[in-house]
């Protein structure tokens, strides 16, 4: 407390912070970035380990024998799917019943706010089929879920086959202490959303679904299976869920442990584990893996069917079979054994998975970065905002003392409040327009312009966004007086604190999103004043705006996936990403679009306003 109460030392500290403000900010920014890049360096990360007792010490033996039969069932399923031209509900019900499950169906329908051009959906109607294997060993208060989406075309038939094969095998075992629910969901995420809402009696997105006729206990964990070939070279685990939520790290550990035990190649983000961390290419590989995770998490969308489970406090992951040109192949029996092992261990759980981390980044499956290690990277960026705010505060509190008289002080402060409030309100109204208008006005737009609905929505969003840039000039017309020197300082102070709180909250919920936004917004926020060269700074500010951040992210993501795109394709991809982001919000309740439209964009507009302060 000496620092807080001793005026001399305080004075010295404040003087130091204000005089060296710019250099300290630079150092913080680069330290933050360097810290973040260092996270992927293996000696700085922790090895993953199983924290959950119930899953660690108990040995299980995997005996699943019927891989071939499962594949045959998968082929039968494919034939029926082709015949019906969609999900073969009757066949699935019959087959599941034949395997001794309690089978129920759920129908659902949903009209999208605007057509989804990627998957060509507009009015979606479908049926989920699920069978419950009742636990013979315990009161049926808990359940596990194994799901496989029924996708159109030739995809994922093997997954359904394996699911049915496992159901048949699991039925004959006596050790189950939790209900196991085998779910085949149509229209992937939409079906999953309907089923989960039905299971938990909630309706958060206004979808129509028929109530579930049968339930198991409360769901403890879930796996979603995606398998499109008879043999696979490796299995990939997908963890990123809705709003960047991740399942407990023990679930990933479990998967990794069994892959090691059975001898299956396992990947994360499609990247194999490498042992040469000390070489440049090894480090590069780890950075790529981690960056892919960061980009996916930041997008806030569910990257597999498991993503929606996480909202209900259910640990879930998607296991994807990958078939590449490697000659080391794994057959369906082995995958079946792996899943059997995982389910038996999950079956042993005495409480929900909670021992291990929920906040982590994975540079590889065997190493992880926990929240305590990655948060300083964000903290270093956020502290820049606070330093700038402190600097402004000192300037502001120094100014009135020079012209010290009470009357003038109060007279001046009134327009000050107004000049801060007006931009705040106007930029938030623009944000609200950005959130509301695109979907509301799609019909009008389609009538007047030769575009499809989806294009109309995306282009309206971009138009509103761009129109917001014209704001500063109009704001000033509304104001009676001239903007004062003090006015912009107060506005900037408010905007800096606003941004710091906003980014802080975002980073706590979704670190990746917070970090990426901080990476671009913080320099803009720290730098901008009305006294910098206008044209250059305007360009700089626009390049660091949220929309451009998204554009860069699209290119960067493609680059990371080793699928670089030309500018033309990238632009189209960008448009479709915007549409996807909005759909994720309306369909599943992803928060990224409202966050950006209602809070981040208005906040950025405040800085834009400061640049054009008159």
């Amino acid at each position: 407390m000496g620092l807080l109460s001793d005026p001399n030392r305080r004075q010295a500290l404040i003087k130091l912070l204000t005089r060296l403000n710019a250099p300290i900010c630079f150092v913080c920014y680069f330290a933050g970035v360097a810290w973040f890049m260092g996270l992927a360096f293996e000696p700085f990360t922790l090895r993953t380990y199983m924290s959950e007792n119930a899953m660690g010490s108990t040995m299980v033996e995997e005996r699943f024998p019927a891989g071939e039969r499962a594949l045959a069932t998968g082929r039968e399923f494919a034939a029926h799917k082709k015949k019906v031209g969609g999900m073969p509900v009757d066949w699935l019900v019959k087959t599941m019943q034949a395997r001794g499950l309690e089978v129920f169906t759920q129908s659902f329908s949903r009209t999208l706010p605007f057509p989804d051009e990627n998957t060509e959906r507009y009015v979606v109607k479908g049926t989920n089929v699920y069978g419950i294997l009742r636990a013979p060993r315990a009161p049926r208060t808990e359940a596990l879920v194994l799901s496989a989406p029924c996708t159109p075309g030739d995809n994922n038939n093997q997954a359904v086959g394996l699911l049915l094969g496992l159901a048949h095998y699991f039925r004959n075992q006596v050790y189950w202490a939790k209900d196991i629910i085998f779910l085949v969901n149509e229209h992937d995420l939409i079906g999953m959303q309907a089923w989960l809402e039905g299971y938990h009696h909630t309706n958060v997105t206004g979808m129509d679904w028929s109530p579930l006729q049968g339930r198991g206990g409360s769901i403890q964990a879930a796996l979603s299976l995606e398998l499109s070939s008879d043999v696979v070279t490796s299995l990939d685990i997908v963890l990123e869920g809705l709003n960047g939520q991740l399942p407990n790290l023990d679930l990933a550990n479990l998967f990794y442990a069994f892959c090691q035990k059975i001898g299956v190649l396992c990947t994360i983000q499609g990247k194999l584990q490498r042992n040469d961390w000390d070489s440049a290419s090894g480090y590069n590989h780890a950075v790529q893996t981690m960056m892919l995770m960061v980009m996916k998490q930041a997008s806030g969308r569910p990257w597999g069917d498991h993503g929606l489970f996480l909202r209900y406090h259910i640990e879930a992951a998607t296991v994807k079979g990958v078939n590449s040109f490697r000659h080391y192949k794994t057959d369906a029996t082995t995958i079946g054994r792996l899943l059997e092992g995982m389910y038996r261990k999950l079956n042993n759980l005495l409480e929900r998975l909670h021992q291990s981390y929920f906040f982590y980044l994975l540079p590889s499956l065997s190493h992880f970065v926990s929240i305590g290690y990655y948060m300083p990277a964000f903290g270093l960026l956020a502290v820049i905002l606070l330093l700038r705010a402190l600097d402004l505060w000192v300037q502001l509190s120094a100014q009135p003392s020079r012209t010290e008289d009470g009357v003038a002080g109060t007279e001046q402060s009134n327009p000050g409040v107004l000049s801060v409030l007006t931009p705040l309100v106007i930029s938030h109204l623009t944000g609200a327009a950005l959130y509301m208008l695109p979907v509301r006005f799609q019909e009008v737009a389609v009538e007047h312009f030769p575009v499809s609905e989806t294009e109309a929505v995306v282009l309206t969003a971009i138009a509103v966004y761009t129109a917001g840039l014209a704001l500063p000039h109009n704001t000033h017309r509304l104001l009676s007086g001239e903007g004062t020197e003090m006015g912009w300082r107060v506005l900037k102070l408010v905007a800096l604190l606003y941004l710091a709180v906003l980014l802080g909250c975002t980073a706590v919920i979704n670190f990746s999103l917070g970090f990426i936004l901080a990476l671009t917004l913080v320099p803009a926020a720290a730098y901008v004043t009305p006294h910098v060269p206008k044209a250059l700074s305007a360009f700089f500010l626009v390049a660091l705006s949220p929309a451009c951040t998204l554009l860069f992210s699209v290119f960067f993501f493609q680059e990371l996936q080793e699928m670089p795109v030309s500018f033309q394709d990238g632009w189209l991809l960008y448009l479709s990403v915007i549409a996807q982001g909005m759909l994720d919000h309306y369909l599943y309740g992803s928060l990224v679009f409202p966050l950006v439209a209602l809070l981040v964009y208005p906040c950025w507009l405040l800085f834009w306003n400061i640049l054009f302060w008159k």
Binding site: P7, R10, Q245, L310, F358, V407, L502, C505, I509
Partner: protein, 422 residues
């Protein structure tokens, strides 16, 4: 003066009315930061239902408000929304009168430090604005937390005290005590202020001093006795005693809130409970004595300090309590130049207010964070409040110092001196 006040009132009422009608109202009334087990409207409804059925409202473990509140709402239940709005408005009324205090009391040697009449003129407006437009108050009002009523009673007490009405002051103080025990500590500043008004010296050897204390305590305890008996006759039993005051003092409900109690008592071994209960509860009452001695010349500031201490250390604090003492801040606008940590404190308070719902979401809904995260923010919030209060206290003392010794202190050798708090 009247026009801006009316405008302010219209704005405040409109904001509340809009929020009442919106879907947010339900969400807000569930927030643990806004309602406590004592003040939650849901529980009052439950108590009313029990009363209507002819069962004692305290027979379950849900209702913990005082009997008078339940009978008040028994008649007003249909107009509950309006009542809560009226509360806010009543609150505003008394503030009008407050600016009379503090003026022309100091020697005019430090003109800079004395507030100009013009500034004084704006104080009630600012106080009203701070209270009515404070997001904390709005939230608490929209949640229909009975905390608004407590705040009203306390503010009426302050109004009567400032106006010098001894009887009413005692009655309202007694009502406030009856509501939530803790305002008991406001007894000291009230007496100090009233004595100051009646030119009775605060001197333990004077008869007039003791005579006044006895008078005041008689009125206070007398009306407390009447209230307690009234409650007894209304309900026909003493059930409410353990259920209201036992509940406040022994803290059996450990629902997370913005206070300090829940986490400690959830973690604690049962046989230490009584000891730590005393340690925690004594905090509210303990500071009264040193503060009263130090601030005996400035009872209004003492009231402010006491309110802040209560809202920090009480067993079930809500943001409504915080809003009450924050409404006093414009009164001390003349201390701003001596405040040292105001920037830090306001940043921390701002960040904490935003992080409360976020961490609550992560803990309860997403399941990825845990109670430690939430409690960390609670701690930070309370530390910031304590810093705020102690900063104001320091600033007040420093201003006193400058009033007696002049603003620009010189050392003996003529160089500029600085004050160091050690």
């Amino acid at each position: 003066m009247a026009a801006p006040l009316t405008l302010l009132m219209i704005v405040a009422v409109t904001v509340r009315a809009v929020l009442f009608r919106s879907s947010l109202a339900e969400l807000i009334s569930e927030r643990v930061e806004v309602v406590s087990p004592i003040t939650a409207w849901k529980r009052v409804i439950e108590g009313l239902a029990l009363l209507d059925l002819g069962v004692s409202p305290y027979s379950g473990d849900v209702f913990h408000e005082t009997p008078l509140i339940i009978y008040l709402f028994h008649f007003l239940v249909d107009y509950a929304e309006i009542t809560f709005m009226v509360n806010s408005v009543v609150f505003l009324q008394f503030r009008k009168q407050k600016f009379a205090l503090e003026a022309d009391r100091y020697p005019p040697d430090c003109l800079e430090l004395i507030r100009t009449p013009l500034e004084m003129h704006y104080v009630p407006l600012k106080v009203a604005m701070f209270y009515l437009l404070n997001p904390f108050t709005i939230l608490s009002c929209v949640a229909k937390s009975t905390c608004g009523l407590n705040n009203m009673v306390i503010s009426l007490f302050i109004l009567c005290t400032v106006k010098g009405n001894v009887l009413l002051s005692a009655i309202f103080l007694c009502l406030a005590t009856y509501q939530s025990v803790y305002p008991l500590t406001l007894c000291a500043p009230a007496m100090l202020y009233l004595m100051q008004r009646q030119y009775i010296p605060v001197n333990l050897r004077r008869v007039s001093f003791w005579w006044f204390v006895v008078q005041y305590l008689f009125m206070y305890l007398g009306s407390l006795f009447v209230l307690v008996c009234l409650s007894f006759f209304l309900l026909g039993s003493w059930d409410y005693m353990p259920s209201v005051y036992g509940f406040i003092l022994s803290v059996p409900d450990l629902t997370p809130n913005i206070g300090l109690f829940w986490y400690f008592f959830a973690e604690m071994f049962e046989h230490f409970r009584l000891f730590f209960l005393c340690v925690f509860q004594i905090n509210v009452f303990f500071y009264t004595i040193p503060l009263s001695i130090k601030l005996k010349e400035h009872p209004v500031f003492l009231i402010f300090m006491q309110l802040a201490v209560i809202s920090i250390f009480k067993s079930y604090p809500t943001v409504g309590d915080v809003a009450l003492y924050m409404a006093f801040l414009p009164l001390w606008s003349h201390l701003h130049r001596f405040l040292r940590n105001i920037f830090l404190v306001s940043c921390v308070l701002l960040a904490c207010s935003a992080l409360f719902p976020v961490l609550w979401h992560l803990w309860i809904y997403a399941g990825s964070a845990n109670s430690n995260f939430y409690y960390a923010i609670t701690l930070l919030f309370n530390v910031a409040q304590i810093l705020l209060v102690s900063d104001y206290f320091y600033a007040f003392l420093r201003r006193e110092h400058h009033l007696t010794y002049g603003l620009y202190l010189k050392k003996k050798d003529g160089s500029e001196a600085t004050l160091v708090l050690k």
